[in-house]
């Protein structure tokens, strides 16, 4: 972690132009400062749940809300402040709810802006038909996991087609007292068949984070083995697509595959080694 912090500081210094003037941003992805952006998408999609007893998340309505002021921004549950370091570099200090809780509680507040779904009369529970082995536990059998709030530092590099991103987050709510970080690369394409974005991302989650959410301790699930969480590496691949139909209406779709490593799958709570998310719908923008 110290190396990551050092890397951030080094990049921050190398860019040199702290508080420099904002560069002209002229691509289709650029947004205006001091304008509220609100869009809604209606369609259908799902996010799988890798935990025993965890409900998959059905997605019917998705909001997209963001506002970037001169100094502060809000972007779908993420609140922070950004500095334009140079023409291509941007450094942001941010805060948001930790997303791990979303696997344990469907109506987790961090899911509200992430995925808004309607309830079905018979919500599916992926473990309803499965039989638990001796070394498995469901989320109903363990004590409730707490909601954490993270503060993070993110460094972005942009040009017209590429975006590179590195982020490091630390628990500031005294919940799991750990960190997580990620590096990502994205490539954009704009063509007759719509706008595409392919993103590869690698997550690192500290042992304390994994242990707080996926560890099994001696005060819960007494019949199964305890599990002490280890640091986890989780690669992710994600494909986004959108095609404008009119000035305000468009089609959107996305597919995301998150691979879980052994630090996760060896937990008695974890049922699968991946999390898949997909959605297809019609979007309407109110701006």
């Amino acid at each position: 972690m110290r190396h990551l912090c050092f890397l951030f500081i080094l990049l921050y210094c190398l860019t040199g132009r702290v508080f420099a003037q904002a560069d002209e941003c002229n691509t289709a992805d650029c947004i205006n400062e001091q304008q509220l952006y609100l869009s809604l998408a209606v369609g259908y999609g799902q996010r799988s749940n890798p935990l025993h007893g965890g409900e998959k998340l059905d997605m019917v309505i998705l909001p997209d809300i963001y506002y970037y002021g001169k100094y502060l921004f809000f972007d779908n549950g993420r609140l922070g402040s950004s500095l334009q370091l140079s023409d291509n570099w941007q450094l942001s200090l941010m805060g948001q709810l930790n997303q791990e809780k979303g696997y344990f509680q469907k109506w987790f507040s961090g899911n509200v802006l992430q995925f808004s779904s309607v309830s079905y009369p018979q919500p599916s529970r992926e473990s309803d038909t499965e039989k638990l082995g001796p070394y498995q536990a469901t989320i109903q059998q363990i004590r409730k996991r707490r909601t954490a709030f993270d503060a993070g530092l993110q460094l972005d590099w942009f040009n017209n087609n590429w975006q590179f991103q590195a982020a490091i987050w630390n628990d500031v709510s005294n919940t799991y007292n750990g960190q997580h970080a990620s590096i990502a690369a994205s490539r954009n394409w704009h063509g007759d068949y719509g706008n595409w974005q392919l993103t590869g991302r690698l997550y690192w989650k500290s042992a304390r984070l994994i242990d707080a959410y996926y560890g099994i301790h001696d005060d819960e699930a007494f019949y199964t083995e305890q599990y002490q969480g280890q640091a986890s590496w989780q690669p992710e691949l994600r494909l986004d697509w959108n095609k404008p139909l009119t000035e305000r209406v468009g089609l959107i779709a996305f597919l995301r595959y998150l691979k879980l490593d052994s630090a996760m799958t060896e937990s008695p709570l974890v049922r699968t080694d991946n999390v898949t998310t997909w959605f297809l719908g019609v979007s309407y923008r109110f701006f």
Binding site: Q21, A22, E24, C25, N26, D29, C30, I31, N32, E33, Q34, Q35, A41, L62, P63, D64, Y66, Y68, K70, F73, D75, N76, G77, R78, S82, Q84, Q90, S92, Q99, G102, L113, Q114, F115, Q154, D156, F158, Q163, Q165, T199, R238, D240, N242, I252, F254, R256, T277, F279
Partner: protein, 128 residues
């Protein structure tokens, strides 16, 4: 880069036209023009001629400042005129006495025709 900036300077006179003689009952009066400059892009500086005219009922030692940068000084003068092509941003223009005390000040503003455009740093549709 600045040569690409299409500057549209709005000459805004506070209460009096610049070409008209100063007429006021205060001990120290001044006129600054323009006080607003409209640029093509936000965050750009303005390159235009600044005009300052002042008059006092008694002789004064005064200096003209743009922010903390001294532009000109007068000694034991009751009137003063200053005009020069100046590169300025939103800042305070002031007349100060020999003790650096601000006697009169006017804010210079830069407005842009287009808002600042930037890139979003979070993924759309908040996928995590």
């Amino acid at each position: 880069m600045r040569s690409f900036f299409a500057l549209i300077v709005l000459t805004v006179f506070s209460t009096l036209a610049y070409t008209q003689p100063l007429a006021c009952d205060e001990e120290l009066c001044w006129i600054v023009s323009p006080v607003i400059c409209v640029t093509q892009q936000a965050e750009q500086s303005c390159q235009t001629e600044l005009n300052v005219s002042w008059q006092s009922q008694q002789p004064r030692d005064l200096c003209l400042y743009l922010a903390e940068h001294q532009l000109w000084c007068w000694q034991q003068a009751t009137t003063g005129n200053w005009q020069q092509q100046t590169d300025w941003q939103s800042a305070s223009l002031s007349l100060r006495d020999a003790r650096q005390q601000v006697l009169v000040a006017t804010e210079l503003h830069i407005l842009s025709r287009q808002p600042v455009r930037r890139r979003r740093i979070a993924a759309p549709w908040s996928i995590f």
